[in-house]
């Protein structure tokens, strides 16, 4: 036992009399410390209290250890030292005197290798009276006693590092003053550490040394101490409780490598060497470390290595093996340019930045000699990242690159080459936008002038010429030119307004005069360009494009030429900005007003298109924030509604406002505006929801009208949209709602049940009724709607089987929808009543009701949250879980009855099973698969039975089923199907659905169905593991559940490759390819 201090050398026999209490406390402590930490702690606290209350002294406590601390057994020694540590820990923070701390520190330092001493020192060093000199002493003790540290256990090493880390944070100056001694000591102590938890500490301690110590004598030693760990290949074990990732370690290591410029001579060559590695991950780590170094080292150091780095990295970019390596390399190069731009205010060829960029631009210029070849792309990318680094870098690059490009462009022998050159210029323009901003960019003006200004006229000429002078078929060439011109037009402080105006005129000409070529890419880009310019220079669009476009709009549609549609569409795309929209509204509204006054207005398609255009633009804008919204409200909601009323009463000049599609779009426009105006205006609307702002003597509102004609009834379309837009608070203002809504609901319901209305009007009645029941009916009054439901669904309760007309069934379902989505108390009753309709012996009742289930939960434009409908979050789940077991058991009954053929009386009609499957498909198509999954074992057999339906009527059901299956397979993989044990039966049915109709078989598989079935097969093969972002650990090798059917699938699909429809063949190629590629054969025996 080495290094024992005088006081403690006393042999046990010579110890002075010791109080029995303390003696037994130590012994008890030593007995329990291993298995009962709490008890041990309590014992130590008791002793601490005795010390505090002067029942015993600290000296006595120390002396009591004497018997054990020289024992041969290190465990006994450790326990004894731990006892002292525990007592000290339990003492109040300010109890120990400076001298006591000093004695204890010396004691622990002597005993530093014993268990508990490190913890004792950690406690002491945190005390206020702990001195710098003691910190020095502790550090020395650590350095001289732990040469063998790496041979000790991980937790012991961790304690040592932890103590060092604490000393670093509390007594850093003391350690730093030790200079090279602490530097070398710390490095020696930590060298060879391998545990990730410890390394996290090691790296952070070393980084402090790197940054704060004078390391000039030992830079390489320090660098090597961390660089030895590069690259980090650590992979955390599964369920790692410490949660340290490779990325955490990489991050700390990278911080160390980048800690000081003095590492540069070692770090940069070493990291560049690592780029020779064959592992992309190693290269990536090296590049990331380089990026960190460049951001942290001082600019002079960066400059010294800049060209060396370029020379290595250029290969990574020009011959990129992996896209991400090329990107990281570009980031390195860009980082260098940014550092070298710091503090530079003027471009000059003497700058370190210019020297760095010179070989780069030279290389790029060479590659760009043949700009259509493969390596021109990386050259473009290099220019792109470097020129975006700073205004100065941009300037230097433009000065050396643009003129040569002009020369090659003039001499270019083909359009392919010219286009590649234009693309290169566009890349530079993109950088210009990043460096100098756009017209709409706020702040950040650069001090230096945009170097592109020097070439402004040449750009304007070249791009204008390429856009308008090239042959019309050269679409991609012209699109490139357009993009370049557009960039320059949005670039801040570049073009004058008249120069941007020139581009606008070109675009107008393309859109108004040219026939579209190919897919119409040029036209699409032109519209997008005008829309982009409208954000920056709205005035120019209003002044140039508007007059030109509006002038081409006809007075009316004679049915010969519908080119006004594309004009309107373009206007719609470019009119989102406020000023432009105001102009658009004024121009189009006056066109519409003129049309409404004409005796012979031509096709309604034109006024309808005008309304659609206005609607489209308003949907893109925030109308409730538009200061002109009241004006639009007065013109459209009040003005046009009044015209609708007049038209319905036969007092209009023409029939435009009697057309249901026109009313539909006018209605949506009104709906949007009603939602955007104040509550006062909404109350006016509520009062006029049926009268449509018309005087009573001129128009009879629909509800309670004794006699109505179709024109008059049709106004319910407008009324419905107005009602939908109203806030719930306006409810009491709606006519006929006092004392309650029963009369109004009954009247609307009566009208929607009547079979005489035209479809659009009928739909409006259905929605109107649903809106009233869902949104405006108070909770207390819900029974009104529920009674109405009962009266509709079983008009004669004495009849066992109901026969209902389709119009009645629609009314019933829309009313149910309104009640179910707000989770009315009778939801279950409603659903069971609806399901009962499916079992009706009347086939029409059954099949119509079956199809109704698809609207129960579907999203509706009118009954929507936007319009303030009450839609409870849990309604979908509630409906699904109520309906599924009922449908499932009903189908089981039908199946059993069907198999019992001896007794024809139990035979159910043939339409009942398909009806239930249709209802099921309808529900499933409107809910998310997350809700479906828990029910899958019940559901899957039903879905498979749906696929067995072969008739033409079942196409919709089967399509919905295949859609559901596709989503289930895509999100959850084959596994879930396999768990239900249905893989083979599913595959068999899918294959059956992929075959085109066989004449005479009666089976109908439309192309859409065949494609959907093939898509499911494709997904089966590609989703064999549950998720695609699978964890690194591969699942244990097992045979694919698809293997037994692989040959059957490949054989069947070979025939589908000859399907008459191309779309189907394409899907078959993909599905077959996936099965060939992804469904692994059984591993061969000899493997």
């Amino acid at each position: 036992m080495a290094g024992t201090a005088g006081l403690l050398l006393l042999p046990p026999r010579t110890l002075p009399a010791i109080s029995i209490g303390t003696m037994s406390a130590l012994q008890t402590f030593m007995l329990v410390v291993e298995h009962d930490k709490e008890e041990a702690k309590r014992i130590a606290e008791g002793v601490a209290q005795d010390v505090e209350s002067k029942k015993t002294t600290l000296i006595e406590t120390v002396q009591s250890l004497g018997e054990y601390i020289n024992d041969e057994d290190p465990i006994l020694r450790g326990k004894a030292v731990s006892f002292l540590t525990a007592v000290i820990k339990a003492l109040p923070a300010r109890y120990l005197s400076r001298q006591q701390i000093q004695v204890l520190t010396t004691f622990f330092c002597d005993r530093i290798e014993d268990c508990g001493a490190i913890a004792g020192l950690e406690t002491l060093q945190a005390l206020e009276r702990f001195t710098e000199a003691l910190a020095n002493e502790v550090a020395q003790a650590l350095f001289s006693n732990f040469q063998d540290l790496q041979a000790r256990s991980q937790s012991q090493r961790f304690q040592v590092y932890q103590l060092l880390n604490e000393l670093m944070s509390r007594h850093r100056a003391a350690l730093r003053d030790m200079g090279d001694i602490s530097l070398v000591g710390i490095v020696d102590l930590m060298t060879g550490e391998k545990d990730p938890r410890n390394l996290m500490l090691v790296f952070s301690v070393l980084r402090v040394v790197m940054v704060e110590w004078d390391i000039s004598n030992h830079a390489e030693l320090l660098f090597d101490s961390v660089y030895n760990y590069f690259p980090i290949t650590f992979r955390p074990p599964p369920n790692d409780p410490y949660g340290i990732t490779a990325q955490d370690l990489k991050g700390r290591l990278q911080d160390c490598i980048a800690a000081t410029s003095q590492f540069a001579p070692h770090a940069i060559p070493s990291l560049l060497d690592k780029l020779d590695s064959t592992s992309p991950n190693v290269k990536k780590d090296a590049l990331n470390a380089l990026i960190a170094c460049i951001h942290s080292y001082d600019p002079n150091t960066v400059s010294r290595y800049s060209i060396t780095i370029w020379e290595v990295l250029k290969f990574e970019i020009l011959n990129a093996q992996e896209e991400f390596l090329s990107e990281s390399s570009q980031e390195v190069l860009k980082g260098i340019a940014q550092r070298l731009s710091e503090g530079v205010t003027e471009a000059s060829q003497e700058l370190p930045l210019a020297q760095y960029l010179r070989p780069i631009t030279k290389e790029c210029n060479e590659q760009l000699q043949e700009p259509q070849q493969k390596q021109a792309k990386p050259a473009q990318q290099i220019l792109s990242s470097l020129s975006a680094a700073s205004a100065i870098a941009f300037t230097i690059i433009v000065q050396t690159v643009v003129a040569p490009i002009f020369t090659i462009y003039q001499e270019a022998d083909g359009m392919v080459k010219q286009r590649a050159l234009l693309e290169t210029l566009v890349v530079l323009f993109d950088s210009a936008v990043k460096v100098f901003g756009e017209w709409t960019t706020r702040g950040g003006e650069t001090i230096i002038e945009n170097p592109l200004l020097e070439f402004k006229d040449q750009f304007s000429d070249i791009f204008g010429q390429a856009l308008m002078g090239a042959a019309k078929e050269e679409v991609s060439f012209r699109v490139t030119a357009l993009k370049g011109f557009l960039r320059l037009s949005t670039l801040r402080d570049f073009f004058q307004d008249n120069e941007i105006g020139l581009l606008i005129q070109y675009l107008d000409e393309i859109l108004l005069k040219e026939e579209s070529v190919g897919r119409g890419d040029l036209q699409k880009e032109s519209i997008a360009a005008l829309a982009e310019i409208s954000k920056h220079k709205p005035r120019l669009i209003v002044d140039i494009t508007f007059p030109a476009f509006v002038a081409t709009l006809p007075d009316k549609d004679e049915g010969l030429d519908s080119s006004y549609l594309s004009t309107l569409e373009t206007l719609a795309q470019i009119s989102v900005e406020r000023d432009i929209f105001e102009t658009l509204f004024r121009r189009l509204f006056s066109k519409l007003s003129i049309l409404l006054q004409k005796d012979q207005p031509g096709s309604v398609a034109y006024p309808r298109a005008i309304l659609m255009t206005l609607l489209y633009v308003m949907q893109q804008r925030k109308m409730d924030q538009d200061p002109n919204v009241d004006l639009y409200f007065d013109k459209v909601v009040v003005g046009l509604c009044r015209s609708v009323a007049a038209s319905a009463s036969g007092k209009a000049k023409n029939q435009i406002l009697n057309d249901p599609t026109v009313l539909h779009f006018l209605g949506r426009l009104c709906n949007l505006l009603v939602r955007s105006v104040s509550i006062q205006k909404q109350e006016q609307v509520a009062e006029n929801v049926y009268s449509l702002f018309a005087p009573a003597e001129e128009f009879v509102p629909v509800p309670f009208a004794q006699t109505t004609n179709v024109d008059q009834e049709r106004t319910i379309i407008i009324s419905t949209y107005l009602l939908a837009g109203l806030s719930k608070d306006c409810g009491p203002r709606i006519p006929h709602t006092s004392p309650d809504m029963s009369a109004l609901l009954a009247d609307i319901s009566r009208r929607s049940v009547s079979n005489t209305t035209e479809p659009a009007t009928h739909l409006a009645f259905l929605r109107h009724q649903a809106l009233l029941a869902n949104k405006f009916l108070s909770k207390q009054d819900l029974s009104i709607a529920e009674n109405l439901f009962d009266a509709l669904v079983s008009p004669d309760p004495s009849m066992k089987q109901q026969v209902l007309s389709p119009a009645t069934i629609r009314t019933v379902f829309w009313l149910s929808k309104a009640l179910v989505i707000r989770l009315a108390p009778t939801t279950t009753h409603i659903l069971t009543s609806l399901l009962a309709l499916l079992s009706s012996v009347d086939q029409q009742t059954s099949t119509t009701a079956a199809r109704g289930f698809s609207i129960l939960l579907s999203d509706d434009d009118v009954l929507s949250t936007t319009n303030g409908a009450i839609i409870r979050l849990l309604s979908k789940q509630r409906v699904f879980t109520t309906v599924i077991p009922l449908i499932s058991s009903c189908i089981r009954e039908v199946n059993i009855a069907g198999s019992n053929e001896s007794d024809p009386s139990t035979k159910t009609p043939d339409h009942i099973k398909p009806a239930h499957l249709t209802a099921l498909a309808g529900i499933i198509s409107t809910i998310s698969t997350a809700l479906v999954m828990p029910e899958l074992p019940t559901l899957l057999p039903l879905l498979l039975q749906s696929l067995d339906l072969q008739t033409a009527e079942s196409v919709a059901v089967r399509t919905a089923t295949l859609d559901t299956l596709a989503v289930i397979i895509r999100d959850n993989g084959v596994v879930v199907i396999d768990q239900c044990g249905h893989v083979q039966s599913l595959v068999r049915r899918l294959l059956k659905t992929t075959t085109a109709a066989v004449p005479g078989s009666g089976a109908v598989n439309t192309p859409r169905l065949r494609v959907d079935a093939l898509n499911c097969l494709f997904l089966l093969a590609t989703r064999q593991s549950p998720s695609n972002n699978a964890p690194a650990a591969r699942p244990p090798p097992s045979l694919s559940p698809l293997l037994p059917v692989k040959n059957q699938v490949l054989r069947s699909l070979r025939a589908v490759l000859d399907d008459p429809k191309r779309e189907v063949r394409k899907a078959a190629v993909d599905a077959r390819g996936a099965w060939l590629r992804d469904v692994d054969d059984a591993p061969e025996e000899e493997d």
Partner: protein, 205 residues
Amino acid sequence: MEMQNSNPTILNAADLPTRLRPTARKPDHVGIFALPSLSPDFLPEASSDSEDENLLEEPIDEQEIYDIRVVLILDLISDHADLIATISDPEHPISLGELAVVSLPDISIKPTLPNVPDSPLKTVTVLITPTITHCSLATVIGLGVRVRLEQSLPPRFRVDVRIKEGTHSTGDEVNKQLADKERVAAALENGALMGVVAKMIETCR
């Protein structure tokens, strides 16, 4: 592997031949002018593809071979990823279409038995243009095209893949290998070779 041609010319993906969608549809029913269904019926009566359209046959043609079955594409740039133009070149992560190794005019479909007009048998001929005349990978590319076609064409098609005349220094030799059923079969047994081919075809989607 040392690159044989590190800087080939690349065609712009937008300029590759594509099948244009029929423009016959009424222009007033698309884009922002699409008309909604105003029927109160629960399900649309007729599915979007009408009966007539469903019966219309679309025979396999050259564009389809180019698109879906032969062009090997790495990038899923477009929605017209068709058959072969999407196969990748083993040296470059670029599609054979973009490298013009496979081009539309060099694909032909002819009746295998011109004297039997009713025979459904057809022969697809694909001519390959290597990016350089001494490209040693021409055989592998040819094999890739061949495998892709055999996997994705119905059995009544015969596949004939050849190097375009005058585009390769040992074109005849390569053609002999590609036409030799035994040697093709042997090549398909070769794990390493099939790995390269599988990698090429992987991008065909």
